[in-house]
Subunit: 341 residues, 2 copies
C-alpha cells in the first residue's frame, strides 16, 4: 500500500510529518509513503536520517492552503498545493490513502470535489473516535462536515460508523445511538423523530436516543448527530480534557511534596494520558468518499502521523472502505428513504 | 423574599431537599421558604431539627410527575403535583422563585404554560453556567429547551445570558459568542450566518463564532447555541469531568503508596473538585419567563439545594429578572428582527 502524506500541513510541518513517516516505515516493512510538499524542505528533514529509501517518495508541491483561505476556492485555485496534488494522486490510484494535518475545511472540500462521494452516500462525514470509560472508544459522526442534515443522513452516518467500528475496533455489533436532548423516544424536533424511525427500522444495532454523557460513559459505540452538535461535543471534550491535564500538571509541580506524590502515581497517570492523548489516537477518518482520508490535528507531532499512517494502511481500514462501498451500492433507496430525502 | 421549593423532585427527595432548605435558612436570616410536597414526609424530615419555624412553610401536594410522564400532559393533568402547585403559587405572587430537581421536561413545560414567557421573548432558555479555565464561568444558552431555533432566538439568548452573567458574576461587559464549527465568520449554515449578523449588529459585546473549547478555555462568557448543541456540550462536559474524577479516585485508592500520595495533594484536588462540583454551582436558571426558576440536577444533595436557594433570593437575581423584562419590553422588534422571525 502507498500512503500519500501532506508534508506541509499543520503547525509542526514538515519536520514532525517527516519524522512520523520515517517511524511508520520502520514499524511497517511493507508500506510505501509518498510525501507531498516543498521538496527542498522535505529533503532537509531527511538529511542524515536512516530509512528504507526504496519505500519513500517525494512529490513537489509549492502552493500552500492556509486556514484563512476559503476552502472551496482554495481547492479550485491552488492546484499546486499538497492537498490538491495528494487527493488527485489518490483519485488516479497512485496512492491508497491520503493524510493531512492542514486546513480541515480544504480537506473536507477536497474530499467532496476531488475524491468524490461514494455511490449511494448522500453526505460523507468527519468521524472522530474518542476514548470512553473502561478503555472503550466511541465514534462521533458527523463532527463538522455537515451543518445542515436530513433524516437519511443520520441513518447513513450510523451505517458508515458501524462498519468502521466493527472492523477497526473488532466490535461485532456496534451500538448506534442518536444524540438527543434526552433518551425518551419522543425527544427532540421533528427531524430527529424521523431520523429515529429510520435508524430503528434499519439493520443497525440501534439503541435509541443517547445523551452526551453516554459517549464518555462508553454506553454507545457510534453516536450519530449533525455536524454542529458533533463538532461542539468533540471540542468541548478536548477542552475539558486539557483543563484537567493542565490542572494536574500545575498541582504536581507546586511543591516538593506534590512532586513526590506525582512519582507515586506516575505510572497510572501515564496510562491515563496515553488513553486520551490525541497523538496516540491519530487522525480522524472522513467516511463515505472514494478513498481513505485521515485528518490529523493541526498540532500533531510525529507520533500522531506515525499512528495515522499505520491505521490507514491496515487491512481493517481497506475492509471498511470496501464494506461501505458494497453496502451503499446495494442499498435500496426507495420507500421510506426517498420520502426523507 | 419567599422561595418555593419542590420537596419531592430528584433522587434524594425529600430528605436532602429539606436539609438544604434548613441550611439556607440558617445562612440567610431573611429568606422565607415554602416546601411543596407530601406534608407527612416533609414533616418527618423536619422532626428533631432546629430551625426558624417562622420562615418555613409547607404546602401539601400529593401527585407526582415522573420522568416517564409526557411533560405537557403531566402539567395539564397533574394539578396536584409539586411542580404545578409551586409554579402557580409563583404566578399568583405567593412566592418570588421556584426551585425543583424534578422532571426537567415538566419544569420546562410548566415554565411556558404556567409562568409564561416574558413580553418580547420569543423563546425562553435553559441556561447552565459551567466552570472554565482560570476560575471563570461560562454560560451555555440554550442547553435543552429549544431544539428548533431561528436567528432571532440566538440573539435573544445572547441578551438574556449577558444580563445574567453581568449581575450574577459581576462581569461588566460579558463576551457573547456563537457556537459554530469554526471561528471564521462564514462558517456554519445559513441560519447561523443570519444569527451571526443579528448578534454582530446588536449592542452586545459579540466576539464572533466560538468553538466548544473556547467555553472550557474561558474565552467566552455567554456561548449561544440551539438547545440540542448546548445540551450535548453540557452532558459531554459532565461526562468527561466524571471520567477524570473517577480515574483519579481509582488510582489514589489502588495501594498504600497511592493513598499516602493522595494526602500530599489532597488540598489542591479538593479545590478542583469544588470548582467543578455541581453541588457547589447549584441549579440552572430558566431565562425569559415571568419568574425566577431554577432547575437542580436530579441527583442534587442538600448543598446544591442550599446554594440554589441562596442564588435565587439574591438581589442580583432579582435585578436580572427586572433588567431582562425592561430590555425586552423596550426592544424594537421591527426591521431586521421581523425578517428573521
Amino acid at each position: 500500500m502507498r500512503i500519500i502524506v501532506d508534508a506541509m500541513g499543520g503547525d509542526n510541518a514538515p519536520d514532525e510529518v517527516v519524522k512520523g513517516c520515517l517511524e511508520a516505515l520502520s514499524v511497517n516493512k511493507q508500506v510505501e509513503i509518498e510525501l507531498v510538499g516543498d521538496r527542498k524542505k522535505i529533503e532537509k528533514c531527511l538529511k542524515n536520517c536512516s530509512y528504507d529509501a526504496s519505500r519513500l517518495f517525494i512529490t513537489d508541491a509549492r502552493e500552500e492552503i492556509t486556514n484563512n483561505d476559503v476552502p472551496t476556492e482554495a481547492i479550485k485555485k491552488k492546484q499546486n498545493s499538497s492537498i490538491v496534488i495528494g487527493l488527485k494522486k489518490m483519485k488516479n490510484k497512485e496512492g491508497d490513502a491520503f493524510i493531512s494535518a492542514g486546513s480541515t475545511g480544504a480537506l473536507l472540500a477536497g474530499s467532496l470535489l476531488i475524491t468524490g462521494r461514494m455511490k449511494g452516500v448522500h453526505r460523507p462525514a468527519l468521524a472522530p473516535v474518542v476514548p470512553s470509560e473502561g478503555g472503550r472508544n466511541t465514534m462521533i459522526i458527523d463532527a463538522g462536515m455537515n451543518t445542515q442534515v436530513k433524516p437519511i443522513n443520520y441513518m447513513q452516518f450510523g451505517i458508515m460508523g458501524a462498519e468502521y467500528m466493527k472492523h477497526m475496533f473488532g466490535l461485532e455489533s456496534p451500538r448506534v445511538g442518536l444524540v438527543n436532548v434526552g433518551t425518551e423516544e419522543k425527544k427532540g424536533n421533528h427531524q430527529l423523530h424521523q431520523a429515529y424511525q429510520l435508524l430503528k427500522n434499519s439493520n443497525l444495532n440501534f439503541i435509541g436516543n443517547v445523551e452526551g454523557r453516554d459517549i464518555t460513559d462508553g454506553k454507545v459505540d457510534v453516536a450519530v448527530c449533525d455536524g454542529l452538535t458533533g463538532n461542539a461535543m468533540l471540542k468541548v471534550m478536548e477542552g475539558t480534557g486539557r483543563f484537567f491535564m493542565d490542572y494536574l500538571k500545575r498541582i504536581y509541580s507546586m511543591s516538593l511534596a506534590s512532586k513526590i506524590s506525582f512519582l507515586m502515581v506516575r505510572h497510572e497517570l501515564k496510562k491515563l494520558k496515553k488513553q486520551i492523548d490525541p497523538e496516540e489516537v491519530g487522525g480522524t477518518p472522513i467516511l463515505g468518499v472514494n478513498g481513505i482520508i485521515y485528518k490529523c490535528h493541526g498540532n500533531s507531532k510525529a507520533k500522531a502521523f506515525k499512528n495515522t499512517i499505520l491505521k490507514a494502511c491496515s487491512s481493517a481500514c481497506v475492509t471498511v472502505l470496501e464494506q461501505i462501498r458494497n453496502i451503499f451500492a446495494k442499498m435500496d433507496l426507495g420507500g421510506a428513504y426517498d420520502e426523507a430525502l
